[in-house]
């Protein structure tokens, strides 16, 4: 919508952010996101976010890793199946060590893939409607409104102690 305006309220206190987010829910404005310099559990609770699914990627990676590591060790052992001193060709304990290391390695790969896909990164689109102060000491609350509601939204943030930043309209959508 070309007439839509994006406005960010920049707070220095996370309690004010929480009250602004709560108030936005019952306002005519649409809440988009919060940008914070630290992971704030209070803000996440206020936003009522679902649990991340990254762990499933990690778990899948770990399972694949264990079987890959154990399987590699077992496969290579069976390529030269000459029994020496009665020792078994398939030696479980040493192969579990290889399996364990591969479990960790692949679980971490899964974790990284999970992070990148869930966070949708690398992506410069995140930098749209972003204020660099949000990586410093400010907590930015981004909301949208119709062009005629711009002053109302700005007042909404100012009343709650925020500095206000208005972004120019853009036809491109947010992430």
């Amino acid at each position: 919508m070309p007439h839509e305006r994006h406005i960010m309220g920049l707070f220095k206190n996370e309690e004010h952010v929480i009250s602004a987010v709560e108030a936005l829910k019952t306002s005519p404005y649409e809440f988009i996101r919060v940008n914070t310099p630290i992971p704030s559990h209070k803000i996440m609770q206020a936003l009522n976010l679902k649990k991340s699914k990254v762990g499933w990627f990690t778990l899948c990676g770990g399972i694949i890793g264990f079987f890959s590591g154990f399987g590699l060790a077992a496969f290579t052992a069976t390529r030269w199946d000459l029994i020496v001193s009665g020792k078994p060709i398939m030696a479980i304990i040493p192969f579990v060590i290889v399996g364990f290391e591969a479990t960790i390695l692949f679980a971490v790969f899964g974790n990284v893939i999970g992070l990148l896909t869930q966070m949708r990164m690398p992506n410069s689109g995140w930098l749209k409607y972003y204020d660099p102060r949000c990586s410093g000491e400010h907590f930015g609350v981004l909301a949208t409104c119709e062009a005629h509601q711009k002053d109302g939204l700005e007042d909404f943030f100012r009343k709650r102690g925020a500095e206000v930043k208005s972004f120019k309209s853009s036809p491109k959508e947010l992430i």
Partner: protein, 438 residues
């Protein structure tokens, strides 16, 4: 001391990234010359042969393997600080976690060079890769050396990814406060991080999993390194306590290296308000604990040799204390178990110079511990007619010098080009209150 705020944390840490003075470049050039000396010695060894080193029969494992174990050990405390203390919610680790993680990555890189150097014919390293050779033979995964290849490469990969992931918010902070080429570089490096709640939701979860995975990994890696020795039937090596003994020793030496690096960094970068004396004290207290564990391991080895009534084992440990390398043994006992006890005195652990000197003493002692274990075992084995001695050559010293220079060269490059303290974690510390921050 001034009260920390978000702005002051940013200012202090970003100030360290300003263009350095000529003294910085001067030190960097000197370290690079040291790296070249090491590279020249290694090149000479490759062309002339492994015989230019002091390794012989029976002492086939010399300084290359000693340095390998030493650097892997140094790497361990980085993960202890960044992962294990993160899981325990120890807020005092926040100011030193980044530098300790970086130390881990560079120490593993340096450690990883030594198996290549020790190979002699380095081009045959592919024998360790899981591919069949010309006669369709595969590597033997029953060998602890193959465990080690997997463990060290996993550790390097995991610690590098952990380090970079944790740094993303700080890379974005540098991006947001830079211009020109630096801005472009950090825009690329930060992957579009903005600290949006959706990013933090996944990031905090993923970081927790990283820590949870790195914790068993760090314990397994040095256990695997210890099995390089313990799975051989060499007197002095073939013992079940090696895994916990090596892990404790690794963390002990790594914590000492943390102090060795942090104290100059704190002074040069004016980090006194961030890396407080309380933080250094906590590292010192942990060193007392690890020193006691290491001391217990030294004592247990002697007890087991006596209690077993195994003649060869008893002779090995008699010779360790009274034989040709007795000085190494005295160094390791004095430096690793007795010197750290000085940290029990508050006056000593709250004085910068004594913290620094004792950290150097522990580093020295831990190097000698590896010398005593590795060389001592094979030098004085089962058969008296096969006993022998070992002395490193100038080529080995040159390579060792070069790798030490490489480690400090990489660390200096890091300290001036990337945030050496995590801004995000420091801000989290403030939110947790000063009691949590310690």
């Amino acid at each position: 001391m001034t009260q920390l705020t978000y702005a002051k944390i940013d200012q202090t840490i970003l100030d360290t990234l300003t263009p350095p003075k000529w003294t910085y470049w001067g030190i960097l050039v000197l370290l690079f010359i040291g790296v070249l000396i090491g590279a020249a010695c290694w090149t000479y060894q490759i062309f002339v042969g492994i015989g230019v080193g002091g390794q012989n029969n029976p002492v086939a494992w010399g300084t290359y393997l000693i340095n390998f174990v030493f650097w892997v050990g140094i790497a361990h405390s980085g993960t202890l600080i960044s992962a294990i203390l993160h899981l325990f919610r120890a807020g005092w680790r926040n100011p030193i976690a980044r530098a300790a993680e970086t130390m881990t990555v560079f120490a593993v890189c340096v450690a990883g060079l030594f198996p290549f150097i020790h190979l002699g014919r380095v081009w045959q390293v592919y024998y360790m890769l899981p591919i069949p050779n010309q006669r369709l033979l595969w590597p033997n995964f029953l060998s602890p050396l193959m465990f080690d290849v997997i463990a060290i490469s996993t550790y390097l990969t995991v610690s590098s990814l952990f380090w970079y992931t944790g740094m993303l918010p700080d890379l974005a902070a540098v991006r947001d406060r830079s211009t020109g080429t630096r801005h472009k570089i950090f825009t690329f490096l930060s992957f579009g991080w903005t600290g949006a709640h959706e990013q933090w939701r996944h990031f905090t979860r993923g970081y927790l999993f990283f820590a949870a995975l790195a914790t068993p990994l760090v314990i397994s890696v040095h256990s695997v390194v210890s099995w390089d020795f313990a799975l051989g039937i060499v007197p002095g090596w073939h013992t079940t306590i090696f895994a916990p003994y090596f892990v404790a020793g690794a963390i002990h030496s790594g914590l000492a290296m943390v102090l060795t690096l942090m104290i100059p960094l704190r002074k040069l970068f004016k980090y006194e308000d961030i890396i407080t004396m309380e933080v250094l004290q906590n590292v010192a207290k942990t060193i007392v604990l690890t020193g006691l564990i290491v001391g217990l391991a030294y004592g247990t080895e002697y007890f087991l040799a006596w209690y077993s009534h195994n003649t060869v084992e008893m002779e090995q440990f008699r010779w360790r204390a009274l034989g040709d390398y007795r000085w190494g043994f005295y160094f390791m006992v004095l430096c690793n178990t007795l010197a750290p006890l000085l940290f029990l005195f508050k006056k000593i652990r709250t004085t910068i110079i004594s913290l620094f000197i004792i950290s150097l003493i522990i580093n020295f002692g831990m190097w000698w511990e590896r010398f005593v274990i590795i060389v001592g075992g094979v030098a004085h084995g089962f058969a008296p007619h096969a006993w022998g001695l070992y002395r490193p050559t100038m080529i080995e010293f040159g390579i060792m010098f070069g790798t030490f220079c490489l480690f400090f060269f990489l660390f200096m490059l890091f300290a001036k080009h990337l945030p050496s303290v995590s801004m995000t974690e420091m801000k989290e510390t403030l939110e947790g209150g000063h009691d949590h921050a310690a």
